[in-house]
Amino acid sequence: MDNLPEEVQELMEALDEAAEDEDEDLVEELAQKLLDTGVDMKPVALEKLALLVMDGEEEMSVGWTRAALKFGLDPFEILLKGLAEGMGLIGKKYENGEAFVPQLLIASTAMYSGMEIIAPFMKQDENSCTKPATVVIGTVEGDVHDIGKSLVKTLLSANGFNCVDLGNDVPSTQFIEAAKENRATAVSMSTLMTTTMAEMPKVVKMLENEGLRDKVMVMVGGAPITTQYAAEIGADVSPHDAASAATWLKGAIFDFPSETERWG
């Protein structure tokens, strides 16, 4: 971005400010002026959006999402290569111990507020796009810790998954019902307490009893959950954090039968 003409850089700074002040009209106006410079703003906007989300800049992410639409970017591209890309960047940093939970949280707010802007434009495209895989997600019964669960949801959404969020303190039966109802591809369970870990094998057993175990992948996670524990209870995996959960599932669905094959 540094090697753009000075005029463009100045307009971009002005757009930053207008976005920060939530001045929609000025954002539109400046976006138009940027277009008029003749510079291809599409890649610039995507890169900018990713960095803004990474830094958790909510207002600027909203402003630049509006600008990105004005530049003629496809809403899905804005989501995947801009907003979600930024969430992925901060997720990676967190994974490497270079960022903290509050940074993930403000990045997720920034991403979601950008998504709200493009949502109305994405509806029209729904038919043309392949249906995203659904993940039923929640924190198990007896446990109210849901910050980590919500981050897993955010990163799954950022990677194109459709999440059905059951919240926290979720009874085992509700996981089963939601999986059936939504023809889920995966069930993601979280817990932070050793006392509630036993809820996880309960859900796996119920899936087996209902003949649903082969229809869904089961991910378990949270501070006390280890890979070994996941294997013991018959879950498919326990990636160690929210970012790797999304990476893992993205890879795993390739080898997984399609929704119609599984659910008919």
Binding site: F100, V101, P102, Q103, L105, I106, G142, V144, I147
Partner: protein, 344 residues
């Protein structure tokens, strides 16, 4: 060799950085199911019935051999007394706070000491002092950052912990929440001290780098903890500070609060943090889950590892799990005693 001490003398000596006959073994939350059942405690009555509470906590001392008697059993009393919604859990699940306030002005603590759970803490301290004069009677209290987090919601605390570093206005907001938390902390601390508590155990679970920015801890957390800590000292009470998770990045700040000892989790290397903490005693950091499913060997190894690393008392990394078994608790206490014989 120091002559044999009572549990109380032992804990006080450790906190005052004096020689001990053996390293103390102390604990945080002690809602242990086996002891609840053994003493005839009934859920949820034992949370608000001083007799029942002290009987359960007392077994940790008389049966397991732990040097302090700790009450109450969870970090929800303050929130409940302020009118927040609390789900009472089960016999093996601690109660949890389920709602929060929108603004600091909404928090009303005029009748804090009238609440039946707060009263129960006070009555339990008095009763425990009577029944177990030789043990270190310890009040388990929510420290200011965590209480602020309960008031505004933990996720909001996390978010505000970064925003307040970026914007003055958000910093003002943060300070308002923490100020309210501190007012409540002081009212409760004073009542506990008057009731005769030997030690105030402050858990600042949410001040952890696992939830908030370490810079925020240094900027706001340290001074808040110091404020309540100084207040405890004025009341003539010693205080202990616990923060969850990997506290290595903030241990220096913790040591500067004036706490009489610091309690850390198994996520930290004892040897590393005792060096940073200098002459402030650090205690810990046996994996709590070992009390539920650990082998004798694992329990002994971890207990010794912490003491070898410079811990001044053996403690679990965090609260005692409800499913802890009495035989494992005893194995742990014995491991600390055996280590003392060889090393003191």
């Amino acid at each position: 060799m120091v002559t044999e001490m009572t549990s109380l003398e032992r804990v006080l000596a450790m906190l005052n950085r004096k020689p001990v006959d053996r390293v103390p073994v102390i604990t945080g939350s002690t809602m242990v199911k086996e002891y609840i059942e053994k003493s005839g405690g009934v859920w949820p009555d034992y949370h608000s019935n001083a007799e029942m509470m002290v009987d359960v906590a007392g077994l940790m001392h008389t049966d397991a051999g732990i040097d302090n008697v700790v009450m109450p059993f969870g970090m929800f009393i303050e929130s409940l007394a302020l009118g927040l919604e609390v789900k009472m859990g089960k016999i093996d699940i601690q109660p949890s706070v389920r709602s929060f306030f929108k603004k600091p002005e909404e928090v009303n603590y005029d009748n804090f000491l009238e609440d039946k759970f707060v009263k129960n803490t006070i009555n339990s301290i008095k009763l425990a002092k009577e029944k177990y004069p030789d043990a270190a009677v310890t009040a388990f209290l929510v420290a200011p950052v965590t209480l602020a987090g309960d008031l505004m919601g933990a996720e909001n605390l996390s978010v505000l912990s970064i925003k307040c570093l970026q914007k003055e206005k958000q910093m003002e907001k943060m300070k308002e929440w923490v100020a309210v938390a501190l007012e409540i902390n002081k009212i409760y601390a004073e009542a506990c001290a008057e009731a005769g508590a030997d030690l105030l155990y402050y858990s600042d679970a949410s001040a952890s780098p696992n939830l908030v920015m370490p810079d925020f801890y240094y900027e706001i957390g340290v001074s808040a903890e110091k404020e309540i800590g100084d207040f405890c000292h004025k009341l003539g009470c010693l205080w202990q500070l616990h923060i969850c998770g990997d506290t290595t990045p903030i241990i220096e700040g913790m040591a500067s609060t004036g706490a009489d000892c610091l309690s850390v989790e198994q996520a930290v290397k004892m040897e590393e943090v005792t060096k940073i903490a200098g002459d402030v005693p650090v205690v810990g950091n046996v994996t709590p889950l070992l009390m539920v499913e650990g082998t004798e060997e694992q329990i002994i190894t971890e207990t010794r590892m912490a003491l070898d690393g410079g811990a001044k008392a053996s403690m679990l990394g965090c609260g005692t799990p409800p499913h802890s078994t009495s035989d494992r608790l005893k194995t742990w206490v014995k491991a600390a005693a055996d280590w003392s014989v060889e090393n003191l």
